[in-house]
Symmetry: C2
Subunit: 502 residues, 2 copies
């Protein structure tokens, strides 16, 4: 006779399978699908999304959850089962507020919107995308209203990606960050020693870029037996279970850094997803606990490791050997400075560490206004450009590299962007802790050895999957809550040195 916990796990396993199947369909949509496949794919995602939701919010799950909660009461509160019940209770309570028909319809609408974005971006055609976007935003607002009352409608949107986070907290942290980040960027522009990165914009063979990225991903510890890399318009990581965690990258012939750092970034996500304890597979606890924690992993491997002097003292000779004509006259110090050049720019995913969060603040401001309905989609391009001018001093020449640059809104990910900035902050908090725990880390990185760093992350972060909520996990690991100070310290120290600001 199976226990209620076992029966609950069985039902949740089916929900997991359906969501994993959706993830495969979405991955395929971005990586492989021919244009004609869009309408059928939207229908498939809608049906599966609705079925996953229906199965999850069924009375049967509710009854098993109630009973399993009784069984779990006597367990260690940090055991897998106790944590599973706790997380499922939270998710179930939320999900019961959303009708299955709504979930199916939202999957359909956002699949079509994503197809429209894929066509609109290269054509620089915001007008054709706008009606889709308006529909997505309207449904996202309806979604948030299922959770009324709230302090702010945006809170319900944030909660999907960062459980418990409020718009007011994000605003407070951003207000702490903004003046010092803006001051740093200004100081660099006014007083910094100029950095030359022209050699990063020569012709770089795409196949060699691919090979170098794969070499780094492997060195970091990404397991290609349980994953693969592909190309897509927007790099992303996706998981279909512990045995199949995939990354995508994009490649430009005249921007060497794009593929390298996006591969590092997605590898950081993938290492987190590949690192859950096997017992969490096919349960809601598999994978990361929140997007900000996830982003702390990707940004750590991309920036704290991948844009460090130590890393390139080991890997630069390898890169030179692949691209001798472009790099033979460049020394590692010049390369280090070039890949850390601070320059306000249009594209978030290519932004340097000092300006990155400003791209996020821009999106956060717009999303707040969209959530409140004080901004109309028709005016989004001009508002985007106005904020771009205000925060970064730039005006996009077109929408392609402006408001159309990110896939997120088309997929309904409103409330997602702030987690990118918070990920930077958390990465810095973790990094201070790691440096204290692993005194030889820099020497290891210089030798191309990442084993003890990965082991540390596996032990303290990865293995737990979604067992601990983000705030709780942070408390366990760094002994405190979210703070902007470590990241500001890191930025000011690193870029002060590079730009000779002292």
């Amino acid at each position: 006779m199976p226990s209620h916990l076992e029966r609950l796990r069985h039902l949740l396993g089916e929900v997991f399978d359906l969501r994993a199947a959706s993830a495969v369909l979405e991955w395929d949509q971005q990586v492989n699908m021919p244009p004609g496949g869009a309408p059928n794919r939207a229908a498939q995602l809608s049906t599966i999304g609705r079925l996953a939701h229906e199965t999850f919010i069924s009375d049967e799950v509710g009854a098993e959850l109630d009973a399993a909660q009784g069984e779990a009461a006597s367990l260690d509160p940090d055991s897998d089962d106790a944590r599973l019940v706790r997380k499922v209770r939270r998710d179930y309570t939320k999900a019961r507020k959303v009708p299955a028909e709504f979930v199916g319809e939202f999957a359909r609408v956002s699949a079509l919107a994503q197809g429209a974005w894929t066509r609109a971006r290269p054509a620089d055609d915001f007008a054709s995308f706008a009606p889709h976007l308006e529909q997505v935003f309207e449904m996202r607002r309806q979604y948030a209203d299922f959770f009324a009352p709230y302090d702010h409608r945006y809170d319900a949107m944030l909660d999907d990606f960062e459980p418990g986070l409020k718009a007011a907290q994000v605003k407070a942290v951003f207000d702490e960050l903004r003046p010092r980040q803006v001051a740093l960027v200004r100081a660099i522009q006014e007083r910094g020693r100029p950095v030359d990165d022209a050699f990063l914009h020569l012709d770089y063979d795409l196949q060699k870029q691919w090979d170098f990225g794969v070499e780094i991903a492997r060195a970091y510890g990404y397991d290609f037996n349980r994953g693969r890399q592909d190309k897509s318009a927007h790099p992303f990581t996706t998981s279909f279970g512990l045995g199949d965690v995939r990354i995508t990258t994009r490649f430009y012939p005249k921007l060497l850094t794009s593929s390298i750092f996006s591969t590092m970034h997605e590898t950081g996500h993938a290492l987190y997803d590949q690192g859950s304890k096997p017992s969490l597979d096919r349960t809601p606890l598999l994978g990361g606990t929140s997007l900000a924690i996830h982003e702390s992993q990707s940004r750590m491997w991309e920036n704290f490791v991948g844009r460090s002097r130590a890393f390139w003292s080991g890997f630069f000779p390898r890169l030179q050997a692949l691209f001798p004509s472009q790099l033979n006259k460049v020394d590692v110090e010049a390369f280090y400075r070039a890949i850390n050049k601070v320059q306000p720019s249009l594209i978030r995913v290519e932004a340097d560490e000092a300006t990155y969060n400003l791209h996020i603040m821009l999106r956060f401001d717009l999303e707040l206004a969209l959530a409140e309905k004080s901004l109309d989609v028709r005016h989004l391009p001009e508002q985007w450009n106005a904020k771009m001018k205000e925060y970064l001093g730039l005006t996009p020449p077109d929408d392609k590299d402006g408001v159309l640059q990110d896939v997120h809104w088309s997929t309904g990910y409103m409330g997602y962007f702030p987690t990118y900035a918070l990920g930077n902050l958390i990465a810095a908090q973790l990094w201070e802790r790691i440096q204290a725990d692993l005194p030889a880390l820099h020497q290891e990185i210089a030798r191309g050895q990442f084993g003890s760093l990965l082991a540390w992350l596996r032990e303290h972060i990865h293995q737990h999957g979604g067992k601990f909520e983000p705030v709780e996990l942070l408390q366990r690991v760094v002994g405190g809550g979210l703070s902007a100070q470590p990241y500001l310290r890191y930025l000011e120290s690193k870029f002060g040195e590079i730009y000779g600001l002292s």
Copy 2:
């Protein structure tokens, strides 16, 4: 207020979506999935397969079907709606006999078996695959027994792929074919003018093979906006709806013909799937009506078109231009003879037209014995080799190129192989009709024009999707039933001429 027909279509649309999602997962499994993904994928396919089946056999579908049948009674019996109801009634009656748990379990077992086959074949390791195969066959027998009583257990297996076909009919047709095919092959070996095909086995660049295959697929009329080509261990065609019909091919550096003819073959399947009327999309009537009719399309484009003198009089100069060092000293007549060389060989998918059906008869004999349980899986390799000796005079040097060569059994496709041979016969029946209707066809093919052939197939076969059962479709198009005579006439005439048998 929607009609019952509309409500039935809505429910069937969801079943369609689930099956299409399974097809995406299966395509990904063969084309992309890393090895570690197998267990999760098996669970996903199991859950979705079970849900699709449960949804289809639900009482709700039954009630709407009953009511829709009333509505359809007053319609033209050849209308989409009347045909939909008729087909769904047949499928529903069958499906209700199979428990949903069985369907889920079979999907899981066969997904794992397929993974085991993928590993076992290159390793020439039948022993590791045998337990999976035994499990698949046992479940396939259980499946057939849901339809007892039957004349032969194999009838229920055939019916999944070729509605209404019986083992006794297959046996009768094969008995008609066998003596004349065997006599033809013997005559060629004893009295035929020798054919040299050594130049087909030189080094052929894989990328150029790919490009040439794509050129042919495009010329045939395959719409890449609604499809794509990939590589896989076993070439196949799959459809996720009218807008996304994909083909795969395999490539060997020293066997030029493999990629060319498998691309033509899969393109033939894909043209059928891309050719349904748009109103059939997302219904059970989309796509081919049976596997034998499907195979008639693939074999027609591969052999009747693709291995004809007319085709190569147009395309051989293109091939020479791609591979000058290998082909400049070869004339088109020598090339035509080489690609039609008759030689008993080990691998079905590489077999020439004169020996191909013998490969099928071998499998049919084994499947009958497996269905009857008079043959044990442990003895399959030796029985395979014995039949190979009997029918083709050859002994496989290993299981890799013997009993392990096909993916079909691992996926549970027992009862499928005969449709390949029947496809050859039907292709010949259609071809006689087409030649009568399109007197300029050979000249058009020589000019690389396939438009009127495709238009003929669209009109008489493709557009109808699954509206007409195979026997009925054949009756409508050629005015008679299945016959071996046109294929035997075609073989004896073509190869008599090539080999100077007069």
